[in-house]
């Protein structure tokens, strides 16, 4: 059973360029979250996708956008790259169950991440 897979593993871009990172969730999972982990920091929540819609968003500018496909895989796009966007980008998947109309996600499974370097 494949876990969460991310591609590419490493990426080098220059300032002003655009980048697309990809994530395939663990089998059976329907929710994908993206996190940014800067050096020496903990992961910081970017946004979450469920049923092909962005459901929650952290404190990130509109340069960060995403998409979820019908097969639950997801993409993270970052436009107009800045030096400060250099970080490890982690994708996490989970299964969202509904209890009494409230959608709860089971625990997150993380991929190994994409290391983005902006020069």
């Amino acid at each position: 059973d494949a876990g969460v897979t991310q591609s590419p593993t490493h990426l080098i871009k220059t300032r002003g360029q655009q980048v697309t990172l990809r994530c395939s969730p663990k089998s059976g999972h329907d929710t994908v979250s993206w996190y940014q982990q800067a050096l020496g920091q903990g992961p910081q929540f970017i946004f979450q996708y469920y049923e092909e819609e962005e459901r929650q968003r952290g404190n990130f500018p509109d340069r960060f956008s995403g998409h979820q496909f019908p097969n639950y895989s997801s993409e993270l796009n970052v436009n107009a790259l800045l030096l400060g966007d250099s970080a490890l980008y982690l994708c996490a998947s989970s299964f969202s169950r509904k209890t009494g109309g409230v959608r709860l996600s089971e625990k997150l499974f993380f991929g190994s991440g994409t290391q983005l370097s902006v020069l």
Partner: protein
């Protein structure tokens, strides 16, 4: 504004002894807390969790304690093993918000277990 803080960037413990990792939070709306472990070149892996209605949760060698009045939680590992050497992240979330878990992470503690 760091809502989840891990004030010790590193901790060294002798094999067989207890490891205690600490975490403080400031947002009283958090009602669910987790610990993740991260090895180099791998993503974080879930270790143990606790909801705010409990003050202790145990899973094998790992026990998490929650002190809501102090807004403090700790992870105890007994006995510590060299394979436990990793970065440990404390995370918090709000199940009661009615949406899926958006976790807030601390900055991590590097645990080194010495043989």
């Amino acid at each position: 504004d760091q809502q989840v803080k891990q004030n010790s960037p590193s901790l060294s413990v002798q094999e067989g002894r207890i490891s205690i990792l600490n975490c403080d939070y400031t947002n009283s709306m958090f009602d669910y807390f987790l610990w993740y472990k991260k090895y180099p070149a791998e993503g974080p892996t879930f270790l143990i969790s606790i909801s705010s209605i409990k003050d202790k949760n145990e899973d094998g060698r790992f026990t998490v304690f929650l002190n809501k009045s102090a807004k403090h939680l700790s992870l105890h590992i007994v006995p510590s093993q060299p394979g436990d050497s990793a970065v440990y992240f404390c995370a918090a979330g709000r199940i009661s918000s009615g949406s899926a878990r958006q976790l807030t992470f601390g900055s991590g503690t590097q645990l080194t277990v010495l043989p």
